[in-house]
Symmetry: C2
Subunit: 337 residues, 2 copies
DNA sequence: TTGTATGCGTTATCAG
DNA sequence: CTGATAACGCATACAA
């Protein structure tokens, strides 16, 4: 049914080893042979079997991506971007979705990587999962950690949200805001905590006292952000601006503000984080900070495969939109051309 | 470094073939051996190498998912759901992202599936790509087509949007709407065209003449939906309701309506399709039709692996929300518990 | 520059 | 019920 390397060799009139050389890009092959082999491969539509190569060479051309079973658009965009990058460099992406057990508290579950990938890419919250990292280290599996905070086994694609968050805060100051609230991430020990640090440091440098009442922690979801907003807007000296740690949360804040009859940004300005697609879907669209997910994906895949380089520079950028500027424009940007 | 089946056999004091039998769930093994083997496997943290099994047995335990390089939340949700289902039934998911060349017009590109998956799952627009289907058929690869329209090689998970679209239209009628516009999919030859059929048939059954001016085709994007809405609202006898073929398009319509000073739904009611997360992020949230993506994913994986059955029933459901009812509630539903 | 023997880790076949 | 042996498709080491 499907052709093997021997079929190609027979058709081309050479030994199968010569075909193997051709496939692996070795240069020392008689030109006449090259052509015959090329023709035979095309003719038979030959494709080397991944499994056989893997067994013989200890190289799988497979990257495993470990992702949480949670439908954040961040996760989804990362999956797609990494899959596309893998394909670009001739690798295959195998997705391992880790659910429940792995997501709560310190876990001791064992991860099963029977595909023997050449490298494992971890995206939040897994880059800082010590149990997982230990297991991968034991198996000697190379690891690339996207947006890890701490040090740990493997290569880290590091992102620091603090400076760009300070830029956003400066924008708030420029618009005259002094009472700025934050809807913060639930767990201080995650990478996203640098957003909180940026928030606090900006306040400090601006000489504004930090008010604990203005910082509400809640899970990364719309519903919880709605509640946090209720709380913030009920404050005696309510904030005139809200910075949410994700775009989804920002949309929750805006929904509540609108529901309560506040105008955005006239009564309360709102900003998010990520530049997720949903930040552009609202009216007014949400001011946010662009996470260059495609660049992060490429950097990770380059690090994982040593191919397709050079790795791009990873630069976050402030995207000013109507929810803080008052512009009544619709955001027409798209992620895909 | 990593244990092989022989290491386990040695540790357990049996032949490696007996271990193989144990792994493959064969029943005729002496109980005393079973226990020793189990212990050895645990002790050595043994995991069978996928590649070796595949080579020896012609079974890969791999499912390939073919997905377009386009960041629709539909695609993303499907990817994640299918990956999770695969894991549930002990299979591995390999994602093949097909971009540019495969997406425009009749293509003749060859797909490379060197991983030799046991089955290939296709999601729109690929289930109706004749070139792709022919190639897969040539290779004798089982195929599961999610939301295919036409017949074709492989197993089809069929979805008919027409009846549920008629329900939505009935809702519009109940609310007193007679001038109902549709922002329709770009290409009539896709599965989503059944939404147009539902729209037209509902009008017909209600005795309302179809007005071509009220049906605007455009790509599945916010920006194009904004333009379509501009057009519709500029009509002399403008529509009082707009049905968009996707939630993203509905959000585009709502953004434009708000920008122009219309109230939703008082001046113009708006509905979408998919029940994508973004349909809940707006205020008011968007009335839409729930695509049971998790169920579709499970059905596809059950069909692909013959495991994890029975396949769930696939039922679309109308979700009434503020953008048509006028309820001033925020939608707090989440896709993940 | 090219070909031969060997082995990767597992399952299949068939003998005991 | 259990175990030797071959085979899967390819790359590696070595020989020619």
């Amino acid at each position: 049914m499907v052709a093997t390397i021997k079929d190609v060799a027979t058709a081309a009139g050479v030994s199968f080893k010569t075909v193997s050389r051709f496939i692996n890009g070795e240069t020392n092959i008689r030109p006449a042979y090259r052509e015959r082999i090329e023709a035979a491969i095309r003719e038979l539509n030959y494709q080397p079997t991944l499994a056989a190569r893997q067994l013989a060479s200890q190289k799988s051309f497979i990257i495993s991506l470990v992702v949480a079973d949670v439908l954040f658009s961040y996760n989804a965009r990362m999956m797609l971007a990494i899959a596309a990058e893998c394909r670009r460099v001739g690798y295959h992406l195998m997705t391992e979705v880790l659910g429940g057990e792995f997501l709560q508290g310190p876990n001791t579950n064992r991860i099963n990587l029977s595909a023997r990938p050449d490298c494992v890419i971890l995206i939040p919250p897994f880059p800082d999962d010590v149990n997982l990292l230990r297991q991968l280290e034991e198996q000697g599996l190379p690891v690339v950690r996207i947006a890890a905070i701490g040090d740990g086994y493997g290569t880290t694609i590091r992102i620091d949200d603090e400076p760009v968050t300070m830029e956003l805060m400066q924008h708030f100051f420029d618009m005259g805001h002094r009472r700025i609230a934050m809807i913060a991430p639930p767990l201080p020990e995650r990478a996203s905590e640098s957003r909180v640090r940026g928030y606090r440091r900006a306040l400090e440098e601006a000489g504004i006292a930090f008010d604990p009442a203005l910082l509400v922690r809640c899970p990364f979801s719309l519903a919880t952000a709605v509640d946090a907003t209720t709380e913030l807007l009920a404050l005696p000296d309510r904030p005139t601006a809200i910075f949410a740690a994700s775009d989804t949360m920002a949309l929750g804040a805006m929904a509540r503000a609108h529901q309560l009859g506040y105008r955005v940004p006239d009564d309360v300005a709102i900003a998010g984080f990520d530049d997720a697609p949903e930040s552009r879907y609202s009216f007014p669209p949400i001011t946010t900070i662009r996470q260059p997910i495609e660049d992060m994906a490429r950097a990770a895949v380059v690090a994982a495969t040593k191919r397709g380089g050079p790795a791009p520079e990873i630069r976050q950028r402030l995207k000013l939109r109507g929810s803080t500027t008052g512009d009544r424009m619709i955001c027409r940007e798209t992620n895909f051309a």
